[in-house]
Amino acid sequence: MIRQFGWNEFELLVFAARWTIVLAIIAFVGGGIGGLVVALLRTAGSRVARTAMIVFIRVFQGTPLLMQLFLAYFGMAIVGVNVNPLIAAMIALTAHASAYLGEIWRGCIEAVPHGQTEAARALGLHYFARMRYVVLPQAARIAVPPTVGFLVQLVKETSLTSIIGFVELTRQGQIITSVTFRPFAVFGLVAAIYFLMCWPLSLVARGMERGFARATRR
């Protein structure tokens, strides 16, 4: 029953990392779109939309992701809607990431001096053009560090999806540890693989910051 920790186990871990990557991409894309909508509604929408967004953010920031995943999968099955685990993960991760990114980006949009919006208005730019050419580019520059910080965290949070049956990197590490009895080797490797996924994100962030700095240099 006890297996050696060898090449086969190494491959299984690397293979399990594909779920971590897939889930992280789902969360990035879903959260990116959702977050932008939340941030825009929160800064400019009607009173009703603003209040709805505040409620959305409070609920999803104030409850654990683990529970959101749990409800999206088991909760929906109990009320009679049988969802596949990938859809459940998609719903929970997107809602979770949207709430956080929405709030981060709202701060960035509000940090752009109000004079910029006024000047754009004076030039006769409509809401869409004002956001697209004046406000968002400036907000994006400030948004890079907190956004990347959150995304790196999100990569690691995908491990929570094991509650609804995903065998991603961390879970595979636990399963392999249970037969090899080599926790240090296994989890050391798991940590190294996470690092290899998160480090490029930090590099991209640094590149983007440099690009923005060059673009705004006088």
Binding site: M1, I2, R3, N8, L12, P64, L66, M67, F70, L71, Y73, F74, G75, A77, I78, V79, G80, N82, S162, I163, I164, G165, V167, R171, Q174, I175, I176, T177, S178, V179, F181
Partner: protein
């Protein structure tokens, strides 16, 4: 892990309340399984030798073998669903799986939320040791040294029955206690049959069981109210106990005969 358990416990409660609606609406899981032609069985994959992932990354172990026999007996295809300790009962109650063959120890608390079959497996705690140590009962421990994992069930059990002159050496874990046995520091160890299977694997034939201290039986679980399915499963368990197939599985995964506690009705 604690936080996780709490969250799960809360929603489990919620699940039971909400779940009763869907359960009564669809009360014949056995018929569902037969018309579907597939039985969905939840099992642990991180609890060797009962449940594990083998080198081919497929669910394997004692539970997997029992599940295969069950599917064969019902004449349906088997779909194994890997579950974890904290989410196995939610999987069952929310209907994602039909039955749990997941080393679920039969306890009163659990019997309130799921329906248990007759026991199909048992984790026994006993005293094991080198072949040449001749003891058969707790009194024989007098003057001997025995290793246990500190504050474990086996620690409590050994401490209760051992005579005063016995020396109990307490280690931080089962692994450390077994290490002490294998390196010859102690001649005896108090541990579960699961741990003992590990030593049998590492050093076959050098150690054997001396006597049993206590046992915890495990059952196959179904949703409460699934009487027909449960009756069918009990019929299956009686059959494999009688025809020796369960004994074979015990020998294969635990290195010893089916425990006596499973024989009695």
């Amino acid at each position: 892990m604690n936080k996780l358990k709490k969250v799960v416990a809360i929603f489990l409660g919620l699940g039971v309340i909400l779940g009763t609606g869907t359960m009564t609406a669809n009360a014949d899981a056995l018929q569902d399984i037969q018309s579907r032609g597939t039985i969905k069985v939840g099992m642990l994959v991180d609890f060797p030798p009962y449940g594990l992932m083998n080198a081919q990354n497929q669910p394997d172990g004692y539970d997997a073998d029992v599940a295969h026999l069950l599917a064969q007996d019902l004449n349906v295809k088997l779909q194994l669903v890997p579950v974890t300790g904290p989410n196995r009962i939610p999987y069952l109650l929310s209907g994602q799986i039909d039955v749990l063959v997941a080393s679920l120890g039969i306890t009163q608390e659990r019997a309130r939320s799921v329906a248990f079959s007759e026991p199909y497996a048992a984790i026994t705690i006993g005293v094991y040791g080198k072949d040449d140590v001749r003891i058969t009962k707790p009194e024989d421990l007098a003057g001997k040294t025995i290793a246990v994992a500190r504050a474990s069930t086996q620690d409590t059990a050994v401490t209760k029955v051992a005579p005063r002159s016995a020396t109990i050496r307490r280690f931080d874990s089962d692994a450390a206690a077994l290490q002490a046995l294998m390196s010859g520091q102690v001649p005896l160890v108090g541990c579960s049959n699961v741990c003992f299977a590990t030593i049998q694997n590492l050093a076959p034939g050098k150690y054997n069981k001396k006597f049993e201290l206590s046992s915890q039986v495990q059952g196959i679980a179904v949703k409460p109210g699934e009487e027909k399915l449960l009756a069918r499963i009990n019929q299956f368990i009686d059959k494999v106990k009688a025809n020796g197939e369960l004994d074979k599985i015990n020998r294969k995964w635990l290195g010893e005969a089916m425990p006596a506690v499973l024989r009695k009705k």
